[in-house]
Symmetry: C2
Subunit: 136 residues, 2 copies
DNA sequence: TTGCGTGCAAAGGTTTTGCATGGCA
DNA sequence: TGCCATGCAAAACCTTTGCACGCAA
């Protein structure tokens, strides 16, 4: 990989994502957030920085927004394995830690020959809020 | 819903998807396939037909291609619930039927209050082929 | 005949790329 | 000084929409 200079733009992006660790931001949200704190960064730069951060494993990219924009999430090295739940109703994405699911990768590898990447997996459905609001 | 005319364009799209049942085609692939068999259909029409088929439950739409184009799959009424496995290596998407996973929606609803939609869920990872080709 | 369906072109959005300039080392 | 990173604008990409015409019923 080419050398990585430390620029303030990249530092600003990284800091923002770190602060929002656990949340999922779109490129546009990142752009606006930086603008509001006086560190405006061009969209092209944001995309290029994110791309590099993904290569370095600092950031994860999720593109589950059905044709909409992708979201990015800071991925601390120490982050534990967790699944993502995406509500088709409100679009909210949340984290899920579950013991039953922890054993899933092992099972799938043994029985189906597939190496499951839990961090990249998104379980689709409907959150409790939307279910109650809609169903009844 | 408005009345549905039987046009040859729509019939062609439906026939193609039925033939390829179990596979996942992008709008562009559909367009090209129809063109090759002499039934060229405008992109706009393809999108509009697919949209209506989705409403009618004939077709499922998947947008897991990381910002790329969405895929569509014919969804026979008799299709059983199954999960999708997507290989991050080769991009191939396959079906997975698994008894362990069949009990998953129930567990998640009871313990996490989330209504899991298995048909929409995609498990990300690496297929056996890619693992062997890459890992060793 | 009625009005939905189609096709073309243009618009809409996100993301990528080209090129000159600016800034890190 | 060398060269990567940035910013702007333009391009590329998929998808949606407007409008006139064609075709099913």
């Amino acid at each position: 990989m080419a050398q990585a200079y430390k620029t303030k733009q990249r530092a600003a992006i990284e800091a923002l994502l770190k602060e929002q660790a656990g949340k999922h931001l779109t490129a546009d949200e990142i752009s606006q957030a930086l603008q509001q704190r006086g560190c405006a960064v061009g969209k092209a730069t944001i995309y290029r920085c994110l791309e590099r951060m993904i290569e370095q494993g600092l950031v994860k990219r999720y593109a589950f927004n059905e044709g909409d924009s992708a979201s990015y999430e800071y991925h601390a090295d120490t982050a534990k394995v967790c699944y993502h739940l995406k509500c088709c109703g409100c679009g909210e994405m949340t984290h899920l830690e579950c013991e039953l699911l922890d054993s899933l990768p092992e099972h799938i590898l043994e029985h189906h020959g597939f190496t499951l990447d839990a961090a990249q997996t998104v379980l689709m459905g409907q959150c409790e809020k939307c279910r109650l609001a809609k169903g009844e």
